[in-house]
């Protein structure tokens, strides 16, 4: 197993469980289950024990390993600079070894099989891949400055489609030169990679790269921070060299071109930093710039924000494999409580997966009369005056 040589070096001091200000548990799986086994240090020691034949890799072992959301909090907080950057790589390698051994939780196996067979996590036919944009009058990419890549959730998930449509509308309204990719693309592979299914990831990435390159795409706007991460950081090694932007990064500099209304009621908004925009790529500014440009919006911060943000629990494939559900302290429910405690009326998100996870959590917590979850694109869209009464 790759990175096996660092496993025994973990002291299990527990910094990885917390945010930088220690306010609460910040490892999603550990928060959900509380057993030491689910903490990053527990995983390190269990993997070492498995490699040393001290324990077997049964179903619980697999659930522990695959419940990591790859949020990167452990990497950000680990006290050991010599190997902290390799923590997630070690967990991914452990998952890869488990997949090779045929020991994966059924939900992981089924999810990967769907992607293998259909090219997307929903098992939907590729021919439906442009339906999300029906009626928007957006051009197909044909040499515009940017291509818009919306990935599985934006294509096949009803809620994701709404968000994708809002983003496309904003980009159009702001006069951004972009087109949607006219050929059916494949799952971006970000979470497949995090799950340790390297061969499948490479296959997906190469297929997408082939499409992008054939269209001569140079700049890509992504709907999802997951896509942004993998296209920006992992596709280049496979021959996919593009300038990649999350849509908030483009929008942040185009807000002045939107017809924003100055007479909307005031809103108190807390931003949930997405892991793949924030911790993985250190962009804590773009989404805030967009929100701060909105008249009447007052930002509040949750205790865990920016590099200390709590993952919604949907990362690393867990949105689909659902290994963290149940119980009062799922990451999403904890996050919903935190946003309400911060006094926010709106919990703003910049990721379709976060949106769905947190919307469900707000309902589970019976907080839906106190706070609502809105994707940033929808917040902006809701504060535009499309009748021409620009600010």
């Amino acid at each position: 197993m790759e990175h096996a040589e660092i496993l025994h070096r973990c002291f299990r001091c527990g910094y990885c469980k917390l945010p930088g200000n220690y306010a609460d548990i910040n490892c999603p799986a550990y928060l959900a289950y509380c057993f030491e086994t689910y903490a990053p240090g527990g995983r390190m020691w269990l993997l070492r024990a498995w490699l040393d034949n001290k324990i077997e890799a049964g179903s619980r072992f697999a659930e522990i390993m695959f419940s990591c959301t790859a949020c990167g909090n452990c990497v950000a907080q680990c006290a050991f600079p010599e190997f902290r950057d390799r923590l997630l790589l070690a967990f991914t390698a452990g998952r890869e070894a488990l997949l090779d051994a045929g020991t994966a939780p059924p939900s992981v196996r089924d999810w990967l099989t769907r992607i293998q067979n259909h090219g997307n996590a929903y098992g939907k036919p590729a021919k439906k891949s442009l339906e999300w944009a029906d009626g928007l009058e957006i051009d197909v990419f044909d040499g515009q400055e940017y291509a818009l890549f919306v990935d599985d959730t934006g294509i096949h998930e009803p809620r994701g489609r709404e968000i994708a449509r809002a983003v496309a509308t904003l980009l159009t309204t702001a006069g951004i030169s972009f087109g949607i990719i006219g050929k059916p693309c494949f799952s971006d592979g970000n979470d497949v990679k995090a799950m340790g299914e390297t061969a499948l990831f490479e296959s997906l990435a190469e297929k997408n790269i082939s499409i992008f390159n054939a269209l001569n795409i140079g700049k890509i706007i992504t709907l999802s921070p997951h896509s942004y991460n993998v296209l920006k950081n992992d596709y280049p090694a496979l021959g996919g060299q593009y300038q990649v932007f999350h849509y908030t990064q483009v929008l942040a500099f185009a807000m002045g071109r939107l017809p924003l209304s100055a007479d909307r009621p005031g809103l108190t908004v807390a931003l949930h930093d997405p892991c793949y925009l924030g911790r993985h790529n250190a962009d804590y500014a773009s989404a805030r710039m967009v929100l701060q440009a909105l008249p009447g919006v007052t930002m509040v911060e949750m205790d865990r924000n920016r590099a200390d943000a709590l993952c919604c629990g949907g990362g690393g494939g867990n949105f689909f494999t659902d290994l963290l559900s149940g119980g009062d302290d799922t990451p999403a429910r904890s996050r919903a409580r935190e946003a309400a405690a911060a006094g926010a009326q709106i919990l703003a998100v910049a990721c379709p997966l976060c949106a769905i996870m947190l919307e469900d959590a707000v309902k589970s917590e019976n907080l839906d009369k106190t706070i609502s979850v809105r994707e940033i694109s929808e917040i902006v869209e809701g504060r535009m005056d499309l009748q021409g009464n620009a600010r």
Binding site: H8, F11, G14, Y15, N21, Y22, A23, I55, A79, F80
Partner: protein, 460 residues
């Protein structure tokens, strides 16, 4: 039996928070130290005092051992299930219940962590702080107090058990009792003037009850903070230097340290002195007091204060500091353990020399140091050894060094702190027999079925 136990525990806490799986049994069988593993049959995570009570009642009925656990960071194996049974992981009981700013105390649940309280106070009561140990921030307040821990306000306030105002405890019988003022008035402001029943649960290594709530003293938080490092070469002068520095009663924390790394530190004895002030004027006034207390040594040019640039000061003032955890990677092997011996200040030179001799004899990577407790009333002198967990010979070397250190500490006149099993037996050997017999009688009264962390504080 185990399946039945787990099913019954699941009815108390919900099945999500009980496990008898190999993974949990493996991980909870050990801590980061050198003690051999001892696996529980089950791990359970209660959320309320009532759930703790029901677990204890069940254990009593089934005569199954119970081992309470905080963060499991004690390093001396005290949360291992030596006779099997149930490990009660308290970390779901982690609420900060209330803060009383007027009387400067906080009430927390038994699984609340040091870091969480720090964050809570920083946000809601920025003029208050509690004494944090050098342990990582996930360490629990209850665990640290119950082992007589110490921390960054220990010169000011003594051991952390001295900062305890009272406790709610589930007895081995299932009764719930309250010690200190909270047992009478509802306030958690003092252990006096009542018979001090808190002592029944302090230093007993989880053999007398399970702490579910604690009242803990808070202290004023200063706007301005500073640190000095006093450096000397002669260990025989250290007791007097410590005595002088503590005599002015300006410091909050005082931690001597001696380590071969980095190279510039080798052979020198350093004393970190941390203090604070509400104003710059107060800060400077206290600094002058501290510097003046050891002026004679400076004038004789046999000791002095180390010039510290601001970035380095910031590192020394960081609470908690991850540097201590990083010591575990000294051998690139994720392990360190230490003997912390509570001893009188005058034994500093003997302890220092014993530590060097043992490190040399066993060829172990070492760090020596101390935390002064009270106004020079005692110290926790620590002998820390890093080891590589992947190298059994290295683990054995560290383990042997620890045993030798325990022996040396006892010979010097100290008492190993949070003693692991072999050290407990060494202490018992030196303990007044009637005192040890009383410990046994107290345990028998509190725990007639002998379910609480059995194997600890026993002769055989």
């Amino acid at each position: 039996m185990t399946a039945d136990l787990i099913a019954r525990l699941g009815k108390i806490t919900g099945p999500r928070y009980v496990s008898g799986a190999a993974e949990e049994r493996y991980l909870y069988s050990m801590d980061q130290g050198t003690m051999p593993p001892a696996a529980p049959d089950a791990v359970v995570m209660p959320k309320t005092t009532e759930e703790v009570r029901q677990i204890v009642m069940l254990a009593n009925k089934l005569k199954v051992p119970v081992v309470p656990m905080g963060a499991g960071l004690v390093l001396s194996g005290l949360t291992r299930a030596l006779k099997g049974g149930i490990v009660i992981d308290m970390k779901r009981m982690n609420r900060i219940v209330t803060v009383n700013p007027a009387s400067r105390y906080v009430v927390v649940e038994g699984g609340a962590s040091q870091g969480m309280l720090k964050a809570y106070l920083d946000k809601h009561h920025p003029d208050l702080k509690h004494s944090m140990p050098d342990a990582p921030p996930v360490a629990t307040l209850a665990g640290n107090i119950c082992i007589h821990g110490s921390g960054h306000l220990s010169v000011l306030g003594g051991s952390h058990s001295d900062m305890l105002n009272g406790m709610e405890v589930v007895l081995p019988s299932g009764e719930i009792i309250r010690t200190g003022s909270c047992g009478v008035s509802g306030g958690w402001f003092s252990r006096a003037p009542l018979p001090d029943l808190s002592g029944l649960f302090l230093g007993w290594s989880g053999t007398t009850g399970i702490v579910t709530r604690l009242g803990i003293k808070l202290f004023p938080k200063y706007r301005y903070n500073d640190v000095l490092i006093f450096v000397a070469e002669d260990p025989d002068l250290m007791p007097d230097m410590i005595s002088r520095l503590t005599s002015v009663q300006a410091a909050e924390d005082m931690t001597p340290w001696m380590t071969p790394k980095p190279d510039w530190a080798r052979g020198f004895l350093h004393i970190n002195i941390a203090w604070g002030g509400h104003t710059k004027k107060e800060l400077i006034f206290k600094r002058n007091l501290l510097q003046g207390s050891v002026r004679e040594y400076i004038d004789r040019k046999i000791a002095g204060f180390l010039p510290l640039p601001p970035p380095q000061k910031g590192r020394f003032l960081k609470i908690p500091s991850p540097d201590l955890a990083r010591f575990a990677d000294l051998r690139r092997g994720g392990g360190f353990e230490y003997v912390g011996a509570i001893m009188a200040i005058e034994h500093f030179p003997d302890a220092y020399r014993a530590g060097l001799a043992i490190a040399e004899k066993f060829n172990v990577a070492y760090s020596l140091g101390a935390r002064i407790i009270g106004a020079g009333h005692a110290m926790m002198f620590f002998f820390a050894y890093a080891f590589n967990r992947a190298d059994p010979e290295d683990v054995k070397r560290a383990s042997d060094a620890l045993e030798a250190t325990n022996t040396a500490a006892l010979e010097i006149g100290g008492i190993p702190w949070k003693a692991e099993l072999p050290a407990q037996k060494q202490i018992i050997e030196k303990m007044d027999p009637d005192t040890f017999a009383l410990m046994g009688r107290i345990r028998a009264v509190l725990d007639p079925n002998h379910i609480m962390n059995p194997g600890n504080w026993e002769k055989d």
